[in-house]
Amino acid sequence: MPESVSNITAQMPRAKLAGLLLFFLGPAVAIYTLFSIYPLVATMALSTYTSDPSGARYFVGLANFETLLGDALWSKPFWNAFGNNLIFFAVHMCVQNPIGIALAGLLSLPGLRLKGFYRTVMFLPTMLSVVIVGFSWNLILSPLWGVASGALKAVGLGSLFAPWLGLESSALVTLSLISVWQFVGIPMMLIYAALLNIPEELIDAARVDGLGHFRIFFHIKLPLVLPTISLVSVLTFVANFNAFDLIYSVKGALAGPNFATDILGTFFYRTFFGNQLQLGNPTMGSAVATVMFFIILLGLCLYLFLVQRRVRRYAF
């Protein structure tokens, strides 16, 4: 933006400008490059090496990836984790985003009282550590404590209770829902902010035309906040395919029962750091991280090229 630069800085001598840039940008660029970008690149480079028991490293090209995707010993847990991760993501998309949109819609109703109170309370879980949230739910859902079964009994649904977190069939969905419970505040807040930015005249015009709240929401507001909804979706995608803390703190590194809750983050941790069953393997760990990087990159590209292009941005 040329007009944002004042004439005085544009006329600055080159050496002086270089000095200023070094002073202002130097620390940020140095720390960021050294501890964020370089490790990413170095990890990818390490994924093309293997090490023998003596610790020496050899270049092996793409052999680690062939092992990871081709050798049943590696590919089975990898695809299991990938599939589980897709389910984890699908639950977020199908539950977290609709609830977030609905709550944002209610909060943005004109003249609603106690708005600030509801917002504060509903956003609270998002502020807490995933570890704390996971463990608290672990206790609440535990048959030992009986809070969840008691609550269900109170509404006459006692027979529905099962130790959901312990069953192979329901553990993953239960954990996904715990994560949804915690992070629903993010879509809620971002969509709420977008809804507030819709110009009043648009809504007033619709009201004059005789549209009710519901139709105004679905036909006018919702299409206008679609860019925000797709942004929320891509944020959810990146966060989900990089998730680790919740599974690790509730289920441990082995993501039980029988790896039913294993996702890429826990698989990466086990491969890289090791656990009761295997020794840590930094080069294979790097390969897993590299695959995760490309999965996230693919999601970002899909968002940028498909969604971002299709969804029209409305300038207010």
């Binding site: 630069v5 800085t9 202002f24 990413l40 550590s129 990089n242 991280a289």
Partner: protein
């Protein structure tokens, strides 16, 4: 208000109240029961502690058998130092990127924005190797360096938006008076960035305080554990001791909730501000 409007507004409030209960209920339940004796935790989990059921036995146990105060101070040091550096270096970089015209500035801005989307966690293998060879393994410094690198991209992005909103005349007037650039930044621009602190805090500070991954990878001794990791390990060890588990959970929850309630207005304003559209 007509009867129909009143019924509508009532139903909206009912939905919002129901969801609010779902959101804070579990947290209240844990905190409430951490102040009770074991028999009351199991006997009447939904009751508030009273004179007969009140007990601090869980808290005593946590203080006795974990280094909870060390964890708190580690978390505080790491979070505050990281926050200060993210704000300082982030504001300086944002200033240079928005104020000075130079070749490659767009490319540099793009390079810096990679970190907003790509999680730094994926570089953990190399980060651990680097920290080991630099002798920084198992130190708080290692955590601070990683968190500053992680927080910078988002803070530069947010602070750039803020700096663009500062009137140009202000800096140009100072320049005409011959004030050096560094003083313009530190004495004119930086004080005006105070409102941005809350926004930056939501996006960078909260994830740092709550992070489990890097303390798990980079720290190995009790003296360098943060609250999140320390409590996580304590919970694993004392899993059958419900008093201690509930107390440890509450001790991790309460400071965050307290700060959140005090700052919630600014935090939410920051979150819903124009920076993220």
């Amino acid at each position: 208000m007509t009867a129909e409007q009143r019924a509508k507004s009532l139903s909206v409030h009912l939905v919002l109240i129901a969801y609010s209960v779902l959101a804070v209920g579990p947290i209240l339940l844990v905190v409430m029961n951490s102040f009770k004796v074991r028999s009351a935790i199991f006997g009447s989990p939904l009751a508030l502690p009273d004179a007969t059921t009140f007990s601090l036995v869980g808290y005593e146990k946590v203080f006795r058998s974990s280094h909870i105060l060390t964890y708190y101070s580690n978390s505080l040091i790491v979070t505050l130092v990281s926050m200060a550096l993210v704000l300082l270096f982030g504001a300086m970089a944002a200033w240079a990127l928005t104020e000075y015209r130079f070749r490659g500035s767009t490319a540099l801005a793009l390079f810096l924005s990679i970190g907003i989307m790509v999680p730094i966690r994926l570089g953990s293998v190399a980060i651990l190797n680097m920290m080991r060879s630099a002798g920084l393994n198992d130190t708080l410094t290692a955590l601070v360096l990683v968190y500053v690198a992680q927080g910078l991209p988002m803070s530069i992005f947010i602070l750039s938006e803020f700096i663009q909103q500062i009137p140009k005349d202000l800096r140009d007037a100072a320049r005409c008076d011959g004030v050096p650039e560094t003083r313009i930044f530190f004495e004119v621009v930086a004080p005006l960035l105070r409102p941005a602190i809350a926004t930056v805090a939501v996006f960078t500070i909260v994830p740092i305080w709550n992070d489990l991954w890097f303390p798990l990878i980079l720290t190995s001794s009790d003296s360098t554990h943060t609250v999140t990791l320390g409590v996580q390990q304590f919970l694993g060890q004392y899993i059958t001791d419900w008093n201690s588990v509930l107390a440890a959970l509450s001790m991790a929850i309460l400071p965050v909730v307290l700060i959140y309630v005090i700052l919630s207005r600014q935090l939410i304003a920051g979150l819903t501000s124009g920076a993220v559209k």
